[in-house]
């Protein structure tokens, strides 16, 4: 019974913790501009993260070691450093975007300028990373993030024409007002937001923090196979809500407030309150995850003691990296760089760096020295390899599309 509860909690946390500022921005913006013409990318992205997160969780459960630790050992310091540099830069940008997202959620609830919240948010993120137990932190923000289900309820209560929606999702077209370059630019942004590198590092490091073993492989699979697709449905709900309410009015969202308007239109103040709670929880959760991921990646690469299970005094370098990363992230937002624009750049650049993150993981997951009989099956290798091809194509196309489409502007 206790195991069952543990599994249910893990799945619920995976659902609530799936969406972050990248999904909020990318799903709402694409829904408002392209209707459901890019819904297929959410499906592709969620399947991709399922394949690789399962691999990361399995590697951590069987070997008892996290991804970066093994990547450096298996592929050498040079390749490991390349992997680290690309992933750390993207994770740091994402951390800044998440801190900005938390501050914007608070601004929307209080109408006080978000910049005033940024130092407070940074301080709170650091305090939670430093003092709060891993399970408590992970479960609390994950469960609060479930408030975002209100967006799916709003879509359902809006009584859309489901047949027409399914048709537009399965027969994607580029709207006449949009260019093909902008369509593919946003496709890459959606892919980047679904498969952002920190998710894999946090998932595998979290498995080590929670002392997963071979006996937890089922928990790993259930979290990934049930939690992630249901979390992906929340991202899809945001897109559908925007397609139903914002697209017909020609609203091109550039603020978090516009992402909440469809929910409040259908469900009123209660819906709005839950949506704001959901925005706050999912950005807070992701801010914590990205801050810890910055510390995890560098400490694991250099072989320093890391994690929340050990006292901060025994992992000073890990704690210092987390602190410095939070300060840098908050500092970047305090330059008054628009957090929504920052998010857009973070997810698009994340897509450009994806092969560097996922190829080493695929190599490690095929090494019997670490995984014994739990190495990848032929099927999972085939799917993962197909994804790598997609990721390489997306990675190569990112910067040219960014320039041609003027960063999605036209």
């Amino acid at each position: 019974m206790r195991k069952l509860l543990e599994i249910a909690l893990g799945v619920l946390t995976a659902i609530g913790g799936f969406v972050d500022i990248g999904d909020l921005v990318a799903s709402t913006e694409t829904g408002a501009r392209f209707g459901l013409g890019l819904a297929w990318v959410v499906v592709v992205g969620v399947l991709g993260i399922i394949v690789y997160a399962e691999m990361a969780g399995r590697v951590a459960s069987v070997s008892g070691r996290a991804v970066f630790d093994l990547v450096r050992e298996r592929l050498g310091a040079g390749v490991g450093l390349l992997n680290l540099a690309a992933s750390f830069f993207i994770t740091l940008l994402t951390l800044a975007a998440e801190i900005g997202g938390v501050a914007l959620s608070l601004q929307l609830a209080t109408s006080v300028n978000y910049l005033l919240f940024v130092p407070i948010v940074g301080l709170l993120v650091w305090l939670v990373c430093w003092r709060v137990r891993f399970e408590l932190m992970d479960n609390a923000v994950g469960l609060l993030g479930l408030a975002l289900i209100v967006v799916a309820v709003a879509v359902w209560r809006a009584h859309p024409d489901w047949g027409a929606m399914l048709h537009s999702a399965t027969h994607p077209v580029v709207p006449g007002t949009e260019s093909h370059a902008a369509y593919w630019y946003f496709a890459i942004a959606l892919l980047g937001s679904a498969m952002t590198p920190y998710e894999v590092f946090f998932f595998s490091s979290g498995a080590v923090e929670q002392r997963w073993t071979r006996s937890d492989l089922l928990v790993n699979r259930l979290n990934v196979y049930i939690g992630f697709p249901l979390g992906g449905l929340l991202a899809l709900a945001l897109m559908v809500a925007a397609a139903l309410v914002l697209e017909p009015r020609g609203i091109d969202p550039s603020h978090l407030s516009q992402a909440a308007l469809p929910t409040s239109l259908v469900l009123g103040k209660l819906g709005l309150a839950l949506a704001l709670l959901g925005f706050f929880a999912c950005t807070s959760g992701a801010a914590l995850e990205t801050a810890l991921s910055c510390g995890y990646s560098i400490a694991q690469y250099f072989g320093w003691p890391w994690g929340k299970l050990i006292k901060p005094a025994r992992a000073p370098r890990f704690q210092l990296i987390v602190l410095v990363s939070i300060a840098l992230g908050a500092g970047l937002v305090l330059t008054t760089l628009d957090p929504i624009k920052l998010t857009e750049y973070a997810i698009v650049l994340s897509a450009a760096a994806l092969p560097l993150t996922y190829l080493p993981l695929l190599i490690v997951a095929n090494d019997p020295a670490y995984l014994g009989d739990k190495v990848n099956s032929r099927l999972s290798n085939a799917i993962a390899s197909a994804y790598l091809v997609v990721l390489v194509v997306a990675s190569v196309a990112t910067v040219p599309l960014m320039v041609v489409s003027k960063a999605g502007g036209g």
């Binding site: 929307l108 609830a109 109408s111 020609g250 407030s257 516009q258 308007l261 009123g268 103040k269 309150a273």
Partner: protein, 162 residues
């Protein structure tokens, strides 16, 4: 010795190339969303259309927010924030467009036409922002009355420019 010298030179050359490529990429990314100089009336017209589209989006956002506020579906602070952002978006769109030098007389006429829409839109959105900040939600529908016509005109202007 000679071999080592060649190797060092090759490493230095490669590192310079990597630096140049890196700097080039950063410059490309940094300028990807920037407004460049305009040399033809066609490009100027497309910028005018994009400005009209951005202003229409702000106007429609304000309309939706006022509609929700009238139905009691928005909290006062969220309403004030949404309207402040809409006003700021319209103002930014106008400021960015007005900063572009029209390349010829035809473009200057176009600039005048768009400004005749942007100025009243910015003014209405500013009035809405002020009323929302004062908590005067009852006045919002009256203040927002010109918005549907402005939204239509922005749309017509945009279609004509595309």
């Amino acid at each position: 010795m000679n071999q080592r010298h060649h190797r060092h030179a090759w490493v230095r050359q490669r590192s310079r190339l990597a630096q140049a490529v890196g700097l080039g990429l950063v410059a490309l990314i940094a300028t990807a969303g920037c407004t460049g100089p305009v040399r033809s009336d066609g490009v100027y017209a497309s910028k005018a259309a994009a400005t009209a589209e951005a202003a229409a989006s702000a106007v429609e956002t304000a309309q939706l927010a006022v509609q929700e506020a009238a139905a009691g579906e928005l909290f006062g602070r969220s309403l004030a924030q949404t309207l402040a952002e809409a006003a700021s978006d319209a103002g930014d769109a106008q400021a960015t467009f007005d900063a572009i030098q029209p390349p010829d007389r035809r473009s200057k006429v176009l600039r005048g036409q768009l400004d005749r829409l942007l100025t009243p839109a910015a003014s209405v959105l500013a009035d809405l922002r002020i009323a929302a900040r004062w908590g005067d939600t009852a006045a919002l529908p009256r203040l927002a009355a010109p918005l549907p016509k402005l939204a239509e005109e922005f749309q017509r202007f945009e279609e004509a420019c595309r």
